[in-house]
């Protein structure tokens, strides 16, 4: 694949078990850009991420999405990944019995294709390098995938995978939750290192704090399944200062079901 990465989402509607959660989302992300989506709990941020990745429980009822001009929604989960989409999950699964290193190597080789496998030594050198960059203890290579990892360790492991896989479009769903301030800085650096025209990034977060370390080019606010406002990085600061209620009042959103927290 070559050219500038490009994700385009148009009027996306998504239901979970018959309930419509996303009610028409539009979004465009290009290589080199960092977008942030903020919003109160339960407004559909993770739903957007899951629908883009293709989680079987999330049904797209309307709208379209393209990755580099190809119909994203027609692809299976693994195909989306191989085309360059990556999702750092809010709640990564634990897979006992499968070592972290073996898994990452398998995943890399699945992308490279048969006959083009990465040499074992080269792989381990690269893995160690990336783990050092994230200040991860070498023992995490041989531990079972996410099993018994603390919340923060899981997040770091997601970023490790991202760094090893070098996706074209990365969606990071609350990678800051559960991180202490030092870990936050390390993870933010782990993301910032990859910033560049080769990759577009979508960050989902509640907190302005993360955005101080990974400074976004665009900020979107999601409420009730829609992006209700977009702006530059100053929008995040404004939200931090004034809270979501301010925006709700401005937009005239009546909202009794969702309590706002920021």
């Amino acid at each position: 694949m070559s050219g500038q990465p490009y994700l385009k989402v148009e009027n996306l509607h998504v239901s979970v078990e018959g309930t419509e959660i996303l009610k028409g989302v539009d979004l465009e992300i290009r290589g080199g850009e960092v977008h942030a989506i903020m919003g109160p709990n339960g407004t559909g941020k993770s739903t957007l991420a899951a629908a883009l990745m293709g989680h079987p429980k999330y049904e797209v009822t309307e709208g379209r999405a393209w990755l580099d001009g190809e119909d994203l929604l027609a692809m299976k989960v693994d195909e989306r990944a191989r085309k360059g989409l990556f999702l750092a999950m809010q709640y990564p699964s634990e897979v006992p019995g499968v070592s972290n290193a073996n898994f990452i190597r398998l995943v890399l080789n699945a992308r490279r294709g048969e006959g083009n496998e990465i040499p074992v030594l080269q792989f381990h050198r690269e893995l160690q390098k990336q783990m050092r960059a994230l200040d991860m203890d070498p023992s995490f290579a041989e531990r079972y995938l996410n099993e018994g990892f603390s919340g923060g360790e899981k997040k770091r492991n997601e970023i490790l995978q991202m760094r090893m896989l070098k996706p074209r479009i990365a969606v990071l769903d609350e990678i800051d939750s559960g991180l202490d301030i030092d870990a936050l800085k390390i993870v933010a650096k782990g993301v910032n290192d990859l910033r560049g025209p080769e990759m577009g990034i979508l960050i989902i977060t509640h907190y302005q704090r993360l955005l101080q370390y990974i400074v976004p080019d665009y900020v979107h606010v999601m409420m009730q399944g829609r992006i209700v406002r977009s702006g530059g990085r100053e929008l995040a600061e404004e939200l931090e200062a004034k809270g979501y209620d301010w925006l709700k009042r401005e937009l005239g959103i009546e909202d009794h079901t969702v309590t706002s927290r920021s």
């Binding site: 299976k76 699964s93 634990e94 019995g97 499968v98 898994f103």
Partner: protein
């Protein structure tokens, strides 16, 4: 012994078998007593198995004089077991005929190993004392039948202090057309001696209906060590009844590694009678059920001696329309104070039409003991599958990875690297068939 087609089973078959093998009178009598027990005993009942309904008469029992195939004829995926000639000994059987034996490595270490009928001539007293001591010929109908008709026997004697650490491979090619193979393995490990035996039951032919009955009995004397690995990879046309049992005397150790990887209708049992004080036994068992197969596995640890320990670790994977029962029995007899018995077994069901049961049993007649069990039956977690696929591996591969991870606590802890690799290979093969 007659070379023949399907034949009626009767007393004369036993007589001619014994005569054909040149056996002494006591052994002929031993076989005939077993035959009588076979005729009198009702078929054994296995909870949640319909084994007793299977009619043996429908199965072909046709003795032949086939001789053992050379090692190259054993399936390629098992060749990894064989290793280099200097690193192992081999006894390979096909049909009831002349086995292929390469036992020089053992002889060099003072270990005696021979075809069982030969051993009866060369080590008569020893065989006579040991045969049937751990597995009573009258215990049940199929054990009685096996005792009457075994035709592919192996005897191993590891004398006091000897170490047979290089593995002895006992290979049985069940698939010789028109032949029946009833393997019987008798092992005596004397005081302070140690041995490793690897047994494989295989077939590379597609048979008509075939029946096999196998018994492994092991006596491990004071301070002796036995590590026994048994694989079964038989096709779906085979009905099999397999018993592997050891008796551990004072401070002896017995380790079982069992891989039930075939596609046949199999009832299998393995376990140890912990007779001597301070003895210990571990069993790691993996079974994979596919097709319409029925797999009924029992692991049984019987604690009679004081301060004995056992641990059972079982994992099974069930696909297609297969049915699997995994029974784990920890029995602690009165007087076996200070013993501990642990067991953990879990089954993973991969298809909505498959059935799986775990039956953990703690039978405890003594107070001063520690015993516990954990049993579970589960399915693949769709969130795990999604997570793995989201990194770019396809669904099939993701499933296999989850299964491999599930089996890892058993397979990953197999101490012999060659066996571990073959086990992994067998799992992979069975999952992709």
């Amino acid at each position: 012994m007659a070379v023949g087609h399907a034949m009626e089973l009767d007393r004369r078959v036993v007589e001619s078998l014994s005569e054909g093998r040149g056996e002494p009178a006591w052994l002929r009598e031993w076989r005939l007593r077993a035959w009588e027990a076979y005729e009198q005993l009702p078929p054994p009942k296995f909870e949640r198995s319909d084994w007793e309904k299977r009619k043996l008469q429908d199965l072909r029992l046709a003795p032949s004089m086939a001789s053992a195939p050379p090692l190259e004829r054993f399936p390629a995926h098992l060749q990894g077991l064989f290793g280099e000639r200097g690193d192992r000994s081999v006894a390979a059987f096909a049909g009831g005929g002349v086995p292929y034996l390469d036992l020089e490595n053992l002889a060099g270490r003072g270990v005696y190993a021979a075809e069982l009928s030969t051993a009866v001539r060369e080590r008569e007293d020893l065989v006579r004392r040991a045969l049937g001591r751990v597995v009573d010929p009258a215990e049940n109908k199929w054990i009685a039948l096996q005792s009457a008709l075994w035709n592919a026997g192996l005897f191993v004697h590891v004398p006091r202090g000897a170490e047979a650490e290089i593995p002895l491979l006992a290979l049985y090619q069940i698939g010789e057309a028109g032949a029946f193979v009833f393997p019987r393995i008798l092992i005596v490990v004397e005081e302070g001696a140690s041995a490793t035996v690897v047994e494989a039951l295989v077939s590379d032919l597609d048979l008509g209906a075939a029946f096999t009955c196998g018994i492994v009995e092991c006596l491990v004397e004071d301070g002796g060590r036995l590590r026994y690995a048994g694989f079964q990879d038989l096709p779906k046309s085979v009905t099999g009844f397999l018993v592997r049992r050891a008796r551990a005397e004072r401070d002896a150790r017995v380790e079982w590694l069992v891989g039930e990887m075939g596609e046949g209708y199999i009832v299998g049992e393995c376990g140890t009678e912990l007779a001597g004080q301070g003895s210990r036994s571990d069993a790691r068992v993996v079974g994979i059920g596919t097709g319409r197969q029925h797999l009924d596995l029992t692991v049984k640890m019987v604690h009679a001696g004081r301060f004995t320990e056992s641990e059972i670790l079982g994992r099974g994977v069930v696909l297609d329309r297969a049915e699997t029962v995994f029974r784990a029995v920890t029995q602690i007899q009165k007087g076996a104070v200070g013993t501990s018995g642990h067991q953990a077994e879990s089954l993973l069901i991969l298809s909505p039409t498959a059935r799986a049961d775990t039956i953990p049993m703690l039978l405890i007649d003594e107070n001063d003991v520690r015993a516990d069990h954990a049993a579970s039956v589960g399915k693949i977690n769709p969130e795990q599958l999604y997570y793995l696929m989201s990194r770019g591996i396809d669904e099939e591969q993701a499933r296999r990875l989850i299964v491999r991870g599930f089996l890892d606590p058993v397979i990953g802890r197999i101490p012999l690297p060659g066996i571990r690799r073959v086990m992994e290979e067998l799992v992979e093969r069975k999952m992709t068939r």
